[in-house]
Structures are given as structure tokens and as C-alpha cells.
Amino acid sequence: MGLELYLDLLSQPCRAVYIFAKKNGIPFELRPVELLKGMMFPVFLGEQVPPETLASTLAELDRCLQLLEDKFLKDQDFVAGPHISVADLVAITELMHPVSAGCQVFKSRPKLAAWRQRVEAEVGKDLFQEAHAAVMKVKDLPPADPAIKEKLKPSVQGLLQ
């Protein structure tokens, strides 16, 4: 039995692993696992996230993006220097997550936008789009099964705190 990868492409770390394996022609069997990540809190809880929580989360995201630009990327083409590395893969898959929620991470950040283009080009546009297809469609997900919703509610509420 060869390599098996248990993945749900809704998850950022799963996407990084998937892209890396495919890009490097590493043979594996995909074992899809369906997580109900519930990143869409309003959809999941049936109520809006309090504006203060949203504001402070976005502020935190902004701060992290600034650090990514200033400390890790700086004036380089990629995070670790002139060539793409696993660090770029991990970073990009994480950043695509808020993008899928409609958060324009790259809009006011030309340096990051340029870096994203470079990473996408290195990975290969097709593979990149393929890996992100699931998460870009998350807004169109059917409503979660009420039983599962109830089960996940406490952990979703925990994430909000």
C-alpha cells in the first residue's frame, strides 16, 4: 500500500499538503474526509458575529499581514528568498481562507498581491485553482444538517471568544 493522504480541501493545511504532493509528482491516494469547518459563522450559528469581534479579528489579520510583508517577505520574491519553498505554500493556503469569506486580503496590499501571483505561477495556475475550488465555493454550501450544527455549535462559539 502506497502513501495515503487524508484531506479535506476546505482546510488550509490540507491544501498546502495537496499542492506540494501534486506539484512534486508524489504518488498518493486521496482519502477525502469531510469536515464541516463552519467558517461561515453567521450561516452556522444563525446569528451575526458581534461587530466588535469581527473588527478585532480583522485588525489582528491586518497586523499579521503587515508582519508577513515586513518580516518574512521583505523585498524578496518569496518568503525564504529567490525561490518558492514550503513556507510560501503554507502562507498562501492560509491567506486564501479569508479570501473565500469575501475578505479582500490582497486588495490594499500590492506587495502581497504580487507575491501571490508569483506563487500561483510557480505552483501552476491549474493546480492552484483546483486546490482552492472547494473553499471558493463555500459560500454556496447548502445549510448544515441541524443535528451537526447543534454538535458543532459549542466549538464554533469557543472560536469566537
Binding site: 508582519l67 515586513d70 518580516k71 471568544q161
Partner: protein, 241 residues
């Protein structure tokens, strides 16, 4: 100028780096950055590490942050005994796995216990609501169980018969609540025995020397706390309410 390590032994990540360097007789200059005085936010330190976090390593012009990265760097540069970061594919992967998992599963809950049980009440004069405290303690307990079942199992150490970076990091983090006299090792004899083994492998002298500042935290006169830092901590309290 040789290797410089920017540390405050109050931090678990700093203790891991300190113990590893000392145990392997890696020569370094101890640059004390006082967390209790908020020196990690100072202009001087921000030039070393804009992330304002400890530990940092400075090797000539090369600056490195993140304790896990620093530990790996020291292993490679100083060719430390291979049991610390075993070369075997699967054994090494096990260490990597633990190092990735521990940030949120062990380090964060253990650090929160210290904050909730001692630092926040000490600094703000207010207790964190009992419900939140209970939630935190349960989370920590569950993760200790996961640690035992998935990483330790019936072995002497995480990778088998010898101590590795994974045990060092795990233990210094689990020690963090001891600063508030909360002992997480009481729940499981297996973990208590592992704890003793790791301490002995490190050497009790070095181990307790590294933990001295943490163990004396209760004696700290927090009126000397930088007001800006105090304000940040009061904001932190709001998150727990």
C-alpha cells in the same frame, strides 16, 4: 561576537532553548530581555525581533526567532547528539509532528493557566470568571490525555528510548502552570514518571536552575510593572470575560 540568545526564563520557549544550549555546552551570551518590565516591546529589542517575541537568536548578522526553528538550527550547526533530532525518517517526522501540534495544544493552554490563575488577578486585581477558568483547565487536561495517548504511549520518551527535542519542549511547557502552583502532572502516573525521566536526562541541577524564575513568580512585586504593559494586560482580561 559569538552566539547571542535573547531570553527571559519565565517563558517556556526560552527555557527549552536555554536548557538545550547549556546541556550541549554551546557557548552563548545570555541577553536578558525582561518580560515583566515589558522590555520585549522596547525599540532596541524590536530591532532584533520585530515580532516582539522571545526567544531570539543572533549569530553574527543572522537573526532567528521561533524557539522550534532555533532548536533545529542549534542541532544542525553544532552537530548535537543525534537522539535530540533523530535522522531516521519516521522518528524525525514524529518530532516534527509534535513540534507543530504543541503550539496550540500544549503551549497555549498551559500559558493561559498561568495567566488566568495568577498573572491576571495579580496585575488587575480581578479574578477571571470561574466558568472560563474551568473551561481552560478542562481543555488542558484533555490535551494532556491526547499527549499521553498519541505521543507518549508506553514508551520511555516520545521517540522511544532516548530524550529528544520533543520531550524537552513538552516538559518546559507543562511546567508553566507551576508558576501559579498548579501541577498538571498529578493526573497521570505515566506522565509523572515521564516528567522525572526527562528531568534526569537533562540533569536536575540545570532543569531547576532554568525554572527558578518561574517558581519565584508569586514573589514578584507587580507594582514595578510598566504601566503600558499593565494596560495591555487589562485589555487581555476583557477577552476572558
Amino acid at each position: 561576537m559569538g552566539l547571542e540568545l535573547y531570553l527571559d526564563l519565565l517563558s517556556a520557549s526560552c527555557r527549552a532553548v536555554y536548557i538545550f544550549a547549556r546541556k550541549n555546552s554551546i557557548p552563548f551570551d545570555f541577553q536578558f530581555v525582561d518580560l515583566l518590565k515589558g522590555h520585549h516591546h522596547s525599540k532596541e529589542y524590536r530591532e532584533i525581533n520585530p515580532l516582539k517575541k522571545l526567544p531570539s537568536l543572533k549569530d553574527g548578522k543572522f537573526i532567528l526567532s521561533e524557539s522550534v526553528a532555533i532548536l533545529f538550527y542549534m542541532c544542525r550547526k553544532y552537530s548535537t547528539p543525534s537522539h535530540w533530532y533523530p535522522p531516521d525518517l519516521h522518528t524525525r517526522a514524529r518530532v516534527d509532528e509534535f513540534m507543530a501540534w504543541q503550539h496550540t495544544a500544549i503551549q497555549l493552554p498551559m500559558s493561559k493557566i498561568l495567566w488566568i490563575k495568577m498573572l491576571i488577578p495579580m496585575i488587575t486585581g480581578e479574578e477571571v470568571p470561574a466558568e472560563k477558568t474551568e473551561q481552560m483547565l478542562v481543555e488542558a487536561k484533555n490535551n494532556m490525555q491526547l499527549f499521553e495517548e498519541k505521543f507518549l504511549q508506553d514508551k520511555m520518551f516520545i521517540t522511544g528510548d532516548h530524550i529528544s527535542l520533543a520531550d524537552l519542549v513538552a516538559l518546559v511547557e507543562m511546567m508553566q502552570p507551576m508558576g501559579s502552583k498548579y501541577n498538571v502532572f498529578l493526573n497521570s502516573s505515566k506522565i509523572a514518571e515521564w516528567r522525572m525521566r526527562v528531568e534526569l536526562a537533562i540533569g536536575s541541577g540545570l532543569f531547576w536552575e532554568a525554572h527558578d524564575r518561574l517558581m519565584k513568580l508569586a514573589e514578584w512585586d507587580c507594582s514595578t510593572l510598566d504601566p503600558m504593559v499593565k494596560e495591555k494586560i487589562c485589555e487581555l482580561l476583557q477577552k476572558f470575560k
